[in-house]
């Protein structure tokens, strides 16, 4: 059943592409909208049963030989994510129907978006690490397609490539980590791995596997120093940014770490690496958000910072595994806060992205230097912006306040860790977290007040902006309602979603989970918050005084620059190496191919196992066979002396047809048929290629080159001949032909060749079909989409 939930968006996506030309374009949007709505309702039905700590499981066997099954499990942790994916997904799609301009392709947009939805649901529901990995990469691919949605813009393409490179590199690392986990535990199931991991801390692969899995999670969740792809990903249409790059995809890394917490949690390296990376990201993100002038870039850095915050909490909370009593409650509190803030962040950040989208859509710019005084023109949007950013800043009456307070509590608890110097380190962490919160407050204020208050900057192009349409206002309004609703009624969320999820992370976690209160009395957290608000307001008013200092941070030392340099360095190196041997000269390619063949087959066989060629029982050669062999040899020799290309092609055809006749002699009608048709088609192919080929001329070669070529030709022929003769006596392996003799009983076919193709080795056939298809598309694009001389590159048109 879960499997059908996952593939439903995919099916609808395929359906959309098939019928897109037949239906009205806004209908496509509404069809796409119905998918997450239905899925949300279907998943929401499971809330009560999951809350009573049940889980739902569906299994299909996929590759049973290797123990890889399509197992999908819906438990507390997955439930939070699937509700976010479908809930935010529904709002974003609704919003996008009104956001996209008439020139945008609805078909592409919603196909990619639904593809992403399938991928993301797959990530959070898969139990098999291999299946999880496949869906994980699929999220990267769909994200790539969506970032490059406006692919005629160079920045969009670059942003898409950057995000793909970084997240896929992490993905590969994660795959390697997963394989190590499989080697350690012998299982592909996440649940089994998690139960066995705590006993395997001494295993040599424990830390490599941990490091690689973390790498995957950090790249995906845009953690320092891999965060550089997220600001560039803001080239995507705003609904995509709201959905993928703030609410769901970037939380896949969070999900992965949360999922693996029961396995790796309790290890000190896991604790410190995640906490440290999270803290650095938290600070660096908020520190950089303040300097941004582009509203979306500001939100991107803010997202990075908030992801760092959740990561820090997961790091601190991971210690819950190996302690008991009061300490365990303390760490469980951190994990609980991480999940709580995850939900909160999705609500307020989603709303803010939509607000920025509205500003961009109605005003035509999202550059802070050109914005101001929009309060009068966009009053509803202004209200939504207030709710979103005040929640982000951690002000009371909004859900961000609750999780921010709990975050400070969790950070304060680190100083109670029983490690040397823990107290000092703990206070340092508190300081960093507090400073990051201060910057968070400042950029939240910038977002609202720089955009909506002050005087509008009026120049010639200025049009008085109109309030957005109702369709664009409803989705952020729903999120804003949640922002306020969760402040007053956090218990509902806590009881039905967070507590079942915390049970997955920590054994008996729900009993230790705290109750959420808005008012804690006068404690350190409250004083810290008051200090943030007071100092933050001061900093906001003095912004003009200190923001210019940002320009003294050298840009050459940034990770962006490192990334760019590495990439262009690799490109140059690759080009230099490749042009060395790819010189466009067909004969030299043949030289490589045959030399390799001689070494790989001839020499290896000779060294490993000397070949015995015996002529014990040769079958008799008939006259026809002999004649045919003579004809073939004559044709082969004649090609060497051909004076025109047409003669050479015809002689080549003689060879091909002769081989077909040989197949007939040796009673291989299938092969003969194939060979005959292939010969015919190849000849046609040659004819149509004639125009491309350069003039036929005999190459003048030096004697040494001629000798070399002749030697390779003779050796190649010799290898084939010897192998052909030796095959008869080869007895190293048992012949597999006996296995196929049962084709009639096993596959119901008397034609063994086709039983092999369609049944015994159908997997090969299927993939060959796929390869053929890709090759066809390749030929088509290379020839038909070729750039005309002097024309602008196609992607810029």
């Amino acid at each position: 059943m879960l499997f059908f939930y996952i593939v439903l968006p995919l099916f609808v996506a395929v359906g959309i592409t098939l019928i897109s030309s037949k239906i009205r374009r806004d209908l496509i949007g509404w069809v796409a909208f119905s998918v997450p709505v239905i899925l949300f309702a279907l998943f929401a039905r499971h809330i009560p049963s999951i809350a009573s700590s049940e889980s739902i499981q569906t299994t299909f066997s996929w590759i049973p030989t290797y123990g890889i099954d399509l197992t999908f499990i819906l438990d507390g942790l997955s439930l939070i994510f699937v509700l976010l994916i479908t809930g935010v997904g529904a709002l974003v799609i609704l919003y996008s129907i009104f956001y996209l301009s008439p020139t945008d392709s609805f078909t592409h947009f919603y196909t990619y978006l639904l593809l992403f939805m399938t991928a993301m649901l797959g990530v959070v529901l898969s139990d098999s690490i291999i299946v999880l990995y496949v869906f994980w990469e699929l999220t990267s691919i769909s994200s790539f397609l969506l970032i490059a949605f406006w692919f005629h813009r160079k920045n969009s393409r670059n942003g898409a490539i950057k995000s793909l490179l970084i997240t896929m590199t992490g993905g590969f690392a994660m795959l390697a980590g997963f394989l190590m986990l499989h080697v350690m535990t012998g299982s592909f199931s996440v649940r089994t791995i998690l139960t066995e991991l705590p006993q395997l801390t001494e295993h040599a692969l424990f830390y490599p596997a941990m490091a690689l899995v973390l790498l995957g999670a950090f790249t995906k969740s845009a953690q320092f120093p891999f965060h550089i792809w997220l600001p560039d990903a803001m080239e995507a249409p705003t609904p995509v940014s709201a959905y993928l790059h703030s609410a769901t995809m970037v939380k896949a890394g969070i999900y992965l770490i949360a999922r693996f917490t029961p396995g790796f949690g309790g290890d000190m390296y896991w604790f410190w690496v995640i906490t440290a990376v999270g803290l650095v990201t938290l600070f660096w993100g908020s520190f950089n958000a303040v300097r941004q002038n582009d509203l979306k870039a500001l939100l991107a850095f803010s997202t990075i910072s908030q992801l760092g915050l959740i990561m820090t909490l997961l790091g601190i909370g991971s210690a819950a595994a190996n302690v008991t009593g009061e300490a365990k409650a303390l760490y469980t509190f951190a994990l609980f806060t991480a999940l709580f803030h995850l939900v909160n962040h999705s609500t307020f950040k989603g709303a803010l992205f939509m607000v920025v989208g509205i500003v961009d859509h109605q005003v035509g710019t999202r550059d802070l230097r050109r914005l101001g005084g929009l309060m009068r023109f966009l009053p509803i949007t202004f209200g939504l912006a207030i709710i979103g950013s005040f929640s982000m800043a951690g002000l009371p009456l909004f859900n961000g306040f609750l999780s921010k307070e709990m975050f400070l509590t969790a950070v304060l608890s680190v100083s109670e860790l029983p490690i040397p110097g823990g107290a000092q380190l703990g206070w340092f962490i508190v300081l960093v977290a507090w400073a990051a919160s201060l910057f968070t407050f400042v950029y939240s204020m910038i977002l609202v007040f720089r955009t909506f208050t002050g005087r509008p900057i009026i120049d010639e192009e200025y049009k008085i902006p109109q309030e957005a349409s109702v369709g664009m206002l409803i989705p952020p309004s729903i999120l804003a309602t949640l922002v306020i609703g969760l402040f007053f009624f956090p218990t509902i969320l806590s009881d039905y979603l967070l507590k079942p999820a915390i049970d997955v992370l920590v054994d008996g976690g729900s009993a230790l989970a705290p109750d959420i209160y808005a008012w804690h009395g006068f404690n350190t957290e409250l004083y810290l918050t008051v200090a943030i608000i007071a100092l933050g307001s001061l900093a906001y008013f003095l912004l003009k005084k200190w923001r210019p200092y940002y320009q003294y941070i050298p840009s050459e030392w940034s990770f962006n620059n490192l990334f760019r340099k590495t990439l262009s360095g690799y490109e140059r190196l690759g080009e230099r190496v490749t042009t060395r041997y790819m010189n466009g000269n067909l004969p030299s390619y043949f030289l490589y191919i045959f030399s390799f063949f001689i070494i790989a087959v001839g020499v290896t066989w000779f060294v490993v196992d000397p070949i015995a060629v015996t002529f014990d029982s040769p079958s008799s050669i008939t006259v026809y066979e002999g004649l045919l062999a003579v004809v073939m040899a004559a044709a082969a020799v004649a090609i060497l002396f051909a004076q025109s290309r047409l003669t050479a092609i015809l002689l080549n055809g003689v060879l091909g047809f002769s081989i077909a006749i040989f197949f007939v002699f040796f009673r291989a009608p299938d092969l003969a048929l194939t060979q005959l048709v292939i010969e015919a088609v190849t000849t046609v192919l040659f004819l149509v290629c004639f125009n491309y080929l350069p003039e036929w001329k005999v190459e003048k070669l030096s004697v040494t080159k001629k000798v070399r070529n002749g030697l390779i030709a003779i050796l190649g022929g010799l290898t084939v001949t010897i192998v052909g003769l030796a095959v008869n006596n080869y007895s190293k392996f048992e012949s597999i032909s006996s296995y196929y003799e049962g084709s009639y009983e096993l596959a119901g076919g008397r034609n063994i060749v086709n039983a092999i193709l369609g049944d015994f080795r159908a997997f090969d056939t299927m993939l060959e079909g796929l390869v053929l298809f890709i090759a066809g598309i390749g030929v088509f694009t290379l020839i038909r989409m070729r750039q005309k001389k002097g024309a602008e590159p196609r992607e810029n048109q």
Binding site: F60, S61, W62, I63, P64, L70, P669, D670, L673, T674, V677, I678, A680, V681, V684, L685, V688, C689, F690, N691, Y692, A747, G748, G749, R750, N751, V753, N754, L757, G758, D759, A762, F763, T765, M766, G769, L770, L772, F773, A775, G776, I777, V779, F780, I783, R784, R786
Partner: protein, 145 residues
């Protein structure tokens, strides 16, 4: 000089029909006798190629309004989904089954799911081969112009 190709055109009309019939025969007979999806597809592709060679591309595309690109995509889709389908019945990926049925005209006939899979392969082969030859020949025309 204007080439008079009346004979070619007339002959091809008949021959293509024969080749197409042969290709379908080969496709269906593959289970027990020589033939099968790949060969059947290849033969069918060669029939189309013959048509395109004899008549020009515009005439043929008017008469046979098939997108060969889409055909190859549909072929891949059929073979992959027929391979995936058994999973939903609790069978491993790519399981094939067959049975014998009494049909009105054919008598006792064997029907096998592998035929669906092979049909996908055949469509892929036809689509890709024709598509490659068409794109190369059209590209070369532009090259001259």
């Amino acid at each position: 000089m204007k080439i008079n190709d009346v004979i070619l055109k007339t002959v091809v009309k008949g021959v293509v029909l024969i080749i197409l019939t042969l290709s379908i025969y080969l496709f269906l007979s593959g289970h027990h006798t020589p033939g099968g999806g790949f060969i059947g597809g290849l033969v069918m592709a060669s029939a189309f190629v013959l048509l395109f060679l004899t008549y020009d591309v515009e005439t043929v595309s008017e008469g046979i309004p098939i997108s060969f690109k889409k055909m190859s995509a549909v072929g891949v889709l059929i073979s992959v989904s027929s391979a995936t389908f058994p999973i939903f019945l609790g069978q491993p990926f790519l399981s094939q089954s067959f049975g014998y049925f009494d049909l009105p005209i054919f008598g006792k006939t064997e029907l096998a799911t592998v035929t669906i899979f092979e049909a996908g392969i055949a469509l892929t082969v036809v689509g890709v081969v024709v598509n490659i030859i068409l794109s190369i020949s059209e590209g070369s025309n532009k090259w001259k112009a």
